[in-house]
Symmetry: C2
Subunit: 181 residues, 2 copies
Protein backbone atom coordinates (compact mmCIF):
# COMPACT_ATOMS: atom_id res chain seq x y z
CA UNK A 1 0.00 0.00 0.00
CA UNK A 2 1.37 3.40 -0.91
CA UNK A 3 1.28 6.17 1.62
CA UNK A 4 -0.62 9.33 0.98
CA UNK A 5 -0.55 12.73 2.62
CA UNK A 6 -3.69 14.76 3.06
CA UNK A 7 -3.23 18.46 2.55
CA UNK A 8 -6.05 20.67 3.74
CA UNK A 9 -6.21 23.96 1.95
CA UNK A 10 -8.74 26.63 2.72
CA UNK A 11 -9.52 29.34 0.18
CA UNK A 12 -12.11 31.92 -0.73
CA UNK A 13 -14.44 30.75 -3.49
CA UNK A 14 -16.66 33.31 -5.23
CA UNK A 15 -20.31 32.32 -5.25
CA UNK A 16 -23.31 33.35 -7.37
CA UNK A 17 -24.56 35.44 -4.46
CA UNK A 18 -21.86 38.03 -5.19
CA UNK A 19 -20.11 37.26 -1.95
CA UNK A 20 -17.01 35.27 -1.03
CA UNK A 21 -17.62 32.10 0.96
CA UNK A 22 -15.10 29.90 2.71
CA UNK A 23 -14.65 26.54 1.02
CA UNK A 24 -12.47 23.68 2.18
CA UNK A 25 -10.55 21.91 -0.50
CA UNK A 26 -8.84 18.61 0.18
CA UNK A 27 -5.97 17.65 -2.05
CA UNK A 28 -4.47 14.18 -1.88
CA UNK A 29 -0.78 14.11 -2.68
CA UNK A 30 1.10 10.87 -3.02
CA UNK A 31 4.41 10.67 -1.18
CA UNK A 32 7.26 10.03 -3.56
CA UNK A 33 10.20 7.63 -3.25
CA UNK A 34 13.58 7.38 -4.97
CA UNK A 35 12.12 4.56 -7.07
CA UNK A 36 9.47 6.89 -8.49
CA UNK A 37 11.87 9.22 -10.33
CA UNK A 38 14.29 8.75 -13.22
CA UNK A 39 16.75 10.94 -15.13
CA UNK A 40 14.90 13.27 -17.49
CA UNK A 41 11.77 13.59 -15.33
CA UNK A 42 10.50 17.15 -14.99
CA UNK A 43 8.24 18.65 -12.36
CA UNK A 44 6.62 22.06 -12.27
CA UNK A 45 5.75 23.55 -8.88
CA UNK A 46 2.84 25.70 -7.87
CA UNK A 47 3.62 29.38 -7.46
CA UNK A 48 3.95 31.84 -4.62
CA UNK A 49 4.34 35.56 -4.37
CA UNK A 50 6.76 37.50 -2.20
CA UNK A 51 5.58 40.69 -0.53
CA UNK A 52 7.67 43.76 0.30
CA UNK A 53 7.05 43.14 4.02
CA UNK A 54 8.34 39.53 3.86
CA UNK A 55 11.31 40.56 1.73
CA UNK A 56 12.37 43.27 4.19
CA UNK A 57 11.76 41.05 7.25
CA UNK A 58 13.95 38.32 5.81
CA UNK A 59 16.70 40.84 5.07
CA UNK A 60 16.64 42.27 8.60
CA UNK A 61 17.10 38.79 10.01
CA UNK A 62 19.57 37.36 7.54
CA UNK A 63 20.95 39.75 4.94
CA UNK A 64 20.90 43.34 6.23
CA UNK A 65 22.18 45.17 3.13
CA UNK A 66 20.76 48.41 1.78
CA UNK A 67 19.25 46.96 -1.43
CA UNK A 68 17.19 44.54 0.69
CA UNK A 69 16.23 46.68 3.69
CA UNK A 70 14.12 49.63 2.60
CA UNK A 71 12.61 50.97 -0.60
CA UNK A 72 14.15 54.40 -0.11
CA UNK A 73 17.71 53.22 0.48
CA UNK A 74 17.44 50.59 -2.27
CA UNK A 75 16.57 53.28 -4.83
CA UNK A 76 20.07 54.71 -4.45
CA UNK A 77 21.73 51.36 -5.32
CA UNK A 78 22.53 49.88 -8.74
CA UNK A 79 19.26 47.89 -8.49
CA UNK A 80 17.21 51.14 -8.39
CA UNK A 81 14.77 49.51 -6.00
CA UNK A 82 14.20 46.84 -3.40
CA UNK A 83 15.31 43.28 -4.24
CA UNK A 84 15.12 40.01 -2.29
CA UNK A 85 18.20 38.44 -0.72
CA UNK A 86 19.48 35.54 -2.81
CA UNK A 87 19.05 33.40 0.31
CA UNK A 88 15.38 34.38 0.40
CA UNK A 89 14.97 33.40 -3.25
CA UNK A 90 16.74 30.12 -2.44
CA UNK A 91 14.53 29.44 0.57
CA UNK A 92 11.30 30.23 -1.33
CA UNK A 93 12.45 27.96 -4.16
CA UNK A 94 13.14 25.22 -1.60
CA UNK A 95 9.56 25.52 -0.34
CA UNK A 96 8.16 25.09 -3.85
CA UNK A 97 10.51 22.15 -4.55
CA UNK A 98 9.63 20.37 -1.28
CA UNK A 99 5.89 20.79 -1.86
CA UNK A 100 6.11 19.52 -5.43
CA UNK A 101 8.45 16.55 -5.12
CA UNK A 102 7.02 15.57 -1.69
CA UNK A 103 9.49 12.78 -0.91
CA UNK A 104 8.45 10.42 1.90
CA UNK A 105 10.55 11.26 4.97
CA UNK A 106 11.97 14.27 3.09
CA UNK A 107 14.86 15.06 0.78
CA UNK A 108 18.17 15.52 2.60
CA UNK A 109 20.32 18.14 0.89
CA UNK A 110 23.80 16.78 0.22
CA UNK A 111 25.11 19.89 -1.43
CA UNK A 112 24.70 22.54 -4.08
CA UNK A 113 27.20 22.69 -6.93
CA UNK A 114 26.01 25.82 -8.66
CA UNK A 115 23.66 28.54 -7.54
CA UNK A 116 23.07 31.66 -9.67
CA UNK A 117 20.69 34.63 -9.56
CA UNK A 118 20.51 35.95 -13.16
CA UNK A 119 17.68 38.40 -12.32
CA UNK A 120 16.62 39.98 -9.06
CA UNK A 121 13.38 39.11 -7.25
CA UNK A 122 11.33 42.23 -6.47
CA UNK A 123 8.31 42.80 -4.20
CA UNK A 124 5.13 41.29 -5.64
CA UNK A 125 6.98 38.84 -7.90
CA UNK A 126 5.37 35.43 -8.32
CA UNK A 127 7.83 32.53 -8.36
CA UNK A 128 7.59 29.03 -9.83
CA UNK A 129 10.21 26.26 -9.79
CA UNK A 130 10.84 23.71 -12.51
CA UNK A 131 12.83 20.66 -11.44
CA UNK A 132 14.67 18.35 -13.82
CA UNK A 133 16.07 15.09 -12.50
CA UNK A 134 19.56 14.74 -14.00
CA UNK A 135 20.78 11.52 -12.45
CA UNK A 136 19.68 8.87 -9.96
CA UNK A 137 21.76 6.22 -8.15
CA UNK A 138 21.31 4.00 -5.09
CA UNK A 139 23.22 5.16 -2.00
CA UNK A 140 26.25 2.99 -1.27
CA UNK A 141 26.38 3.81 2.44
CA UNK A 142 22.61 3.76 3.10
CA UNK A 143 20.84 0.91 1.29
CA UNK A 144 17.42 2.35 2.21
CA UNK A 145 18.15 5.54 0.30
CA UNK A 146 19.07 6.80 -3.14
CA UNK A 147 20.84 9.90 -4.41
CA UNK A 148 19.20 12.22 -6.92
CA UNK A 149 20.99 14.97 -8.79
CA UNK A 150 18.70 17.69 -10.10
CA UNK A 151 18.48 21.19 -11.52
CA UNK A 152 15.95 23.70 -10.18
CA UNK A 153 15.11 26.75 -12.27
CA UNK A 154 13.06 29.46 -10.57
CA UNK A 155 11.21 31.92 -12.78
CA UNK A 156 9.08 34.99 -12.11
CA UNK A 157 5.65 35.88 -13.54
CA UNK A 158 7.29 37.24 -16.71
CA UNK A 159 9.18 33.99 -17.32
CA UNK A 160 12.52 35.57 -16.38
CA UNK A 161 14.92 33.22 -14.62
CA UNK A 162 15.65 34.48 -11.09
CA UNK A 163 17.61 31.44 -9.84
CA UNK A 164 19.25 28.31 -11.18
CA UNK A 165 20.55 25.60 -8.89
CA UNK A 166 22.34 22.32 -9.47
CA UNK A 167 22.14 20.11 -6.37
CA UNK A 168 22.08 16.61 -4.92
CA UNK A 169 19.81 15.12 -2.30
CA UNK A 170 19.37 11.79 -0.53
CA UNK A 171 15.82 10.43 -0.63
CA UNK A 172 14.28 7.20 0.74
CA UNK A 173 13.80 4.09 -1.36
CA UNK A 174 10.35 2.52 -1.35
CA UNK A 175 10.08 0.06 1.56
CA UNK A 176 9.89 -3.54 0.29
CA UNK A 177 6.39 -4.09 1.72
CA UNK A 178 4.96 -1.20 -0.31
CA UNK A 179 4.04 -1.36 -3.98
CA UNK A 180 4.09 1.57 -6.40
CA UNK A 181 0.30 1.43 -6.84
CA UNK B 1 37.55 60.75 4.22
CA UNK B 2 36.50 57.19 4.95
CA UNK B 3 32.92 56.49 5.76
CA UNK B 4 31.91 54.94 9.03
CA UNK B 5 28.73 53.29 10.16
CA UNK B 6 27.43 53.74 13.65
CA UNK B 7 25.87 50.65 15.14
CA UNK B 8 23.77 51.25 18.22
CA UNK B 9 23.49 48.20 20.40
CA UNK B 10 21.48 48.17 23.59
CA UNK B 11 22.14 45.53 26.22
CA UNK B 12 21.57 44.81 29.89
CA UNK B 13 24.61 45.52 32.03
CA UNK B 14 24.68 44.16 35.58
CA UNK B 15 25.41 46.82 38.18
CA UNK B 16 26.64 46.71 41.77
CA UNK B 17 23.11 47.39 42.96
CA UNK B 18 22.15 43.78 42.11
CA UNK B 19 19.86 45.00 39.39
CA UNK B 20 20.14 45.12 35.61
CA UNK B 21 20.33 48.59 34.08
CA UNK B 22 20.03 49.55 30.45
CA UNK B 23 23.30 50.70 28.94
CA UNK B 24 23.82 51.97 25.42
CA UNK B 25 26.93 50.79 23.67
CA UNK B 26 28.08 52.45 20.47
CA UNK B 27 30.34 50.49 18.17
CA UNK B 28 31.99 52.20 15.24
CA UNK B 29 32.56 49.93 12.27
CA UNK B 30 34.45 51.10 9.23
CA UNK B 31 32.80 50.42 5.90
CA UNK B 32 34.97 48.31 3.67
CA UNK B 33 35.70 48.66 -0.06
CA UNK B 34 37.07 46.31 -2.71
CA UNK B 35 40.42 48.11 -2.35
CA UNK B 36 40.64 47.09 1.32
CA UNK B 37 40.85 43.33 0.74
CA UNK B 38 43.39 41.06 -0.95
CA UNK B 39 43.75 37.34 -1.64
CA UNK B 40 44.71 35.50 1.53
CA UNK B 41 42.92 37.88 3.91
CA UNK B 42 40.92 36.13 6.62
CA UNK B 43 38.06 37.44 8.70
CA UNK B 44 36.37 35.86 11.70
CA UNK B 45 32.77 36.82 12.44
CA UNK B 46 31.03 37.23 15.73
CA UNK B 47 28.75 34.37 16.72
CA UNK B 48 25.04 33.78 17.01
CA UNK B 49 22.90 31.00 18.38
CA UNK B 50 19.87 29.41 16.78
CA UNK B 51 16.90 28.49 18.95
CA UNK B 52 14.47 25.61 18.43
CA UNK B 53 11.65 28.13 17.89
CA UNK B 54 13.52 30.00 15.14
CA UNK B 55 14.61 26.74 13.52
CA UNK B 56 11.04 25.41 13.37
CA UNK B 57 9.58 28.75 12.22
CA UNK B 58 12.06 28.94 9.34
CA UNK B 59 11.21 25.38 8.32
CA UNK B 60 7.46 26.03 8.32
CA UNK B 61 7.98 28.97 5.98
CA UNK B 62 10.65 27.59 3.69
CA UNK B 63 11.56 23.92 4.19
CA UNK B 64 8.64 21.97 5.66
CA UNK B 65 10.26 18.56 6.08
CA UNK B 66 9.88 16.29 9.09
CA UNK B 67 13.47 16.59 10.37
CA UNK B 68 13.04 20.39 10.55
CA UNK B 69 9.44 20.75 11.76
CA UNK B 70 9.02 19.19 15.21
CA UNK B 71 11.21 17.49 17.77
CA UNK B 72 8.91 14.48 17.97
CA UNK B 73 8.75 13.79 14.24
CA UNK B 74 12.46 14.51 13.81
CA UNK B 75 13.35 11.80 16.36
CA UNK B 76 12.04 9.17 13.93
CA UNK B 77 14.37 10.32 11.11
CA UNK B 78 18.00 9.37 10.44
CA UNK B 79 19.03 12.56 12.26
CA UNK B 80 17.43 11.33 15.53
CA UNK B 81 16.39 14.87 16.35
CA UNK B 82 15.58 18.31 15.06
CA UNK B 83 18.03 19.92 12.60
CA UNK B 84 18.05 23.29 10.82
CA UNK B 85 17.29 23.60 7.12
CA UNK B 86 20.45 24.04 5.09
CA UNK B 87 18.90 27.28 3.78
CA UNK B 88 18.58 28.48 7.37
CA UNK B 89 22.25 27.68 8.02
CA UNK B 90 23.10 29.51 4.79
CA UNK B 91 21.02 32.56 5.74
CA UNK B 92 22.49 32.74 9.27
CA UNK B 93 25.99 32.46 7.80
CA UNK B 94 25.14 35.28 5.39
CA UNK B 95 24.17 37.48 8.34
CA UNK B 96 27.50 36.86 10.05
CA UNK B 97 29.43 37.43 6.80
CA UNK B 98 27.59 40.71 6.03
CA UNK B 99 28.15 42.05 9.55
CA UNK B 100 31.84 41.17 9.50
CA UNK B 101 32.91 42.27 6.04
CA UNK B 102 30.57 45.31 6.09
CA UNK B 103 31.14 46.42 2.50
CA UNK B 104 30.02 49.97 1.69
CA UNK B 105 26.78 49.73 -0.35
CA UNK B 106 26.77 45.97 0.26
CA UNK B 107 28.14 42.81 -1.36
CA UNK B 108 26.10 41.67 -4.36
CA UNK B 109 26.10 37.87 -4.61
CA UNK B 110 27.08 36.76 -8.10
CA UNK B 111 26.85 33.07 -7.42
CA UNK B 112 27.78 30.11 -5.27
CA UNK B 113 29.93 27.35 -6.72
CA UNK B 114 29.97 24.92 -3.86
CA UNK B 115 27.76 24.71 -0.82
CA UNK B 116 28.05 21.78 1.60
CA UNK B 117 26.62 20.91 5.01
CA UNK B 118 29.04 18.34 6.53
CA UNK B 119 27.30 18.43 9.94
CA UNK B 120 23.77 19.36 10.92
CA UNK B 121 22.90 22.49 12.91
CA UNK B 122 20.79 21.66 15.98
CA UNK B 123 18.78 23.88 18.35
CA UNK B 124 21.02 25.89 20.67
CA UNK B 125 24.06 25.65 18.41
CA UNK B 126 26.27 28.73 18.27
CA UNK B 127 27.60 29.54 14.80
CA UNK B 128 30.66 31.48 13.65
CA UNK B 129 31.84 32.15 10.09
CA UNK B 130 35.42 32.38 8.92
CA UNK B 131 35.92 34.08 5.54
CA UNK B 132 38.98 33.68 3.38
CA UNK B 133 39.43 35.96 0.36
CA UNK B 134 40.62 33.70 -2.48
CA UNK B 135 40.86 36.13 -5.37
CA UNK B 136 40.15 39.78 -6.20
CA UNK B 137 39.80 41.47 -9.60
CA UNK B 138 38.31 44.73 -10.90
CA UNK B 139 34.94 44.38 -12.63
CA UNK B 140 35.21 44.73 -16.40
CA UNK B 141 31.62 45.84 -16.90
CA UNK B 142 31.33 48.10 -13.84
CA UNK B 143 34.47 50.20 -13.27
CA UNK B 144 33.21 51.34 -9.86
CA UNK B 145 33.15 47.77 -8.60
CA UNK B 146 35.41 44.78 -8.06
CA UNK B 147 34.78 41.04 -7.85
CA UNK B 148 35.87 39.03 -4.83
CA UNK B 149 35.96 35.27 -4.68
CA UNK B 150 35.84 33.87 -1.16
CA UNK B 151 35.30 30.78 0.96
CA UNK B 152 33.06 30.89 4.04
CA UNK B 153 33.37 28.14 6.63
CA UNK B 154 30.68 28.03 9.31
CA UNK B 155 31.45 26.16 12.53
CA UNK B 156 29.47 25.37 15.66
CA UNK B 157 30.49 25.80 19.31
CA UNK B 158 32.40 22.50 19.21
CA UNK B 159 34.44 23.58 16.17
CA UNK B 160 32.58 21.17 13.87
CA UNK B 161 32.09 22.48 10.33
CA UNK B 162 28.37 22.85 9.56
CA UNK B 163 28.71 24.64 6.20
CA UNK B 164 31.32 25.41 3.59
CA UNK B 165 30.65 27.78 0.71
CA UNK B 166 32.69 28.98 -2.23
CA UNK B 167 31.16 32.12 -3.73
CA UNK B 168 31.71 35.35 -5.65
CA UNK B 169 30.39 38.82 -4.95
CA UNK B 170 30.58 42.27 -6.50
CA UNK B 171 31.62 45.01 -4.09
CA UNK B 172 32.22 48.77 -4.57
CA UNK B 173 35.64 50.27 -5.20
CA UNK B 174 36.67 53.17 -2.98
CA UNK B 175 35.44 56.44 -4.53
CA UNK B 176 38.38 58.52 -5.81
CA UNK B 177 37.68 61.40 -3.42
CA UNK B 178 38.04 59.10 -0.38
CA UNK B 179 41.32 57.97 1.09
CA UNK B 180 41.92 54.72 2.97
CA UNK B 181 42.62 56.58 6.24
Amino acid sequence: MSRYVLIFSVMYCPTVTDRATMCSVILIMKERYFDDVKAGDRFKSGSLSVSEKELVEFAHKFDPQMFHLSRKRAERTIFKGLIASGWHTGALSMFLFVQTLNFAEGAIGLGVDELRWPNAVRPGDVLTVETEILDVRPSRSRPGHGIIRFRNVTTNQRGEVVQTMLASAMVPRRPKHESAD
